[in-house]
Amino acid sequence: MKYFEEIQVGDTFAVGRHTFTADEIKAFAQRFDPQLFHIDETAAERSHFGALCASGWHTAVVWMRLMVDHRRGLIEAARARGEPAVGIGPALGFRELKWLKPVYVGDTIEYQSEVVETRVSNSRPGSGLMTIRSTGVNQNGEPVISLVSTTFVERRPEVT
């Protein structure tokens, strides 16, 4: 993980990819979003989606999980090089979350993020705020989800 000062608007990074199975789509939806088109194949076929598809929240939290794993990998790599592990988080929230297309059974979603804004935090002088736009694209190259989120990132100790 980079310090806030090393992060540039326009930086992009590959977050990871995930294939959505019928079992996990239904298991997630049973817990959090039990609308018929997320839990029942037959009902989903009769719905405007035409087939079983993942809850939009499922598509979003898989991005979160991949992002945590991605950051952990960067921190471990920094430690292995003898560099300090830069702190990140928590997030303040998100905006402009768009569910652009349904995620159907067997779809593989590839997530990528781009830094769109950086600024120093007023409330926490030791931190900066990094805003990223994250996008998930299916195996046909179609965007299925997009969101903008803002997270605290530690500043270089010598500048604060």
Binding site: R31, F32, D33, P34, Q35, F37, H48, F49, S55, G56, W57, A60, V61, V62, M64, R65, V68, G89, P90, A91, L92, G93, F94, R95, E96, L97, K98, W99, R124, L147, F152
Partner: protein, 153 residues
Amino acid sequence: MPKLHWEDFQPGAVAIYGPRLVTREEIVAFAAEFDPQPMHLDEAAASATMLGGLGASGWHTCCLLMRMIADGYVLDSSSMGSPGIDEVRWLKPLRPGTNIRIRATVLESRPSNSRPEMGLTKFLFEVLDEAGSCLTTMITTSMLGRRQPEPRP
């Protein structure tokens, strides 16, 4: 047949859903699966973070909100899903043992331009604790089937 349609959600209408007790076990289980950061997993590690103690993943709060509104009205409605979320703000941590409620306010309502069988309803959802403090806000648009579709010109 669903009981509730687009016509049943008029601007200014307010409804409360819940309460729902959020346990430490489910906070940790959700985080282990979807957001395995220390402040959501372990009290000792969480006390050293900006959260100052164990708190639910903000994404968990969103998913609980979804489930509570599903049980509250969505499953009894002609819901056609949602194009997305305008904004979510995580204002205060959701701590283990909190009984949360959802306050749903209809902000706007309009027919769909492209689909005469559908209307669009913009909601403000607030996640409240027992004292009525707001922990999270969400502004989102729902797609709902109309009871009486617009006659085609």
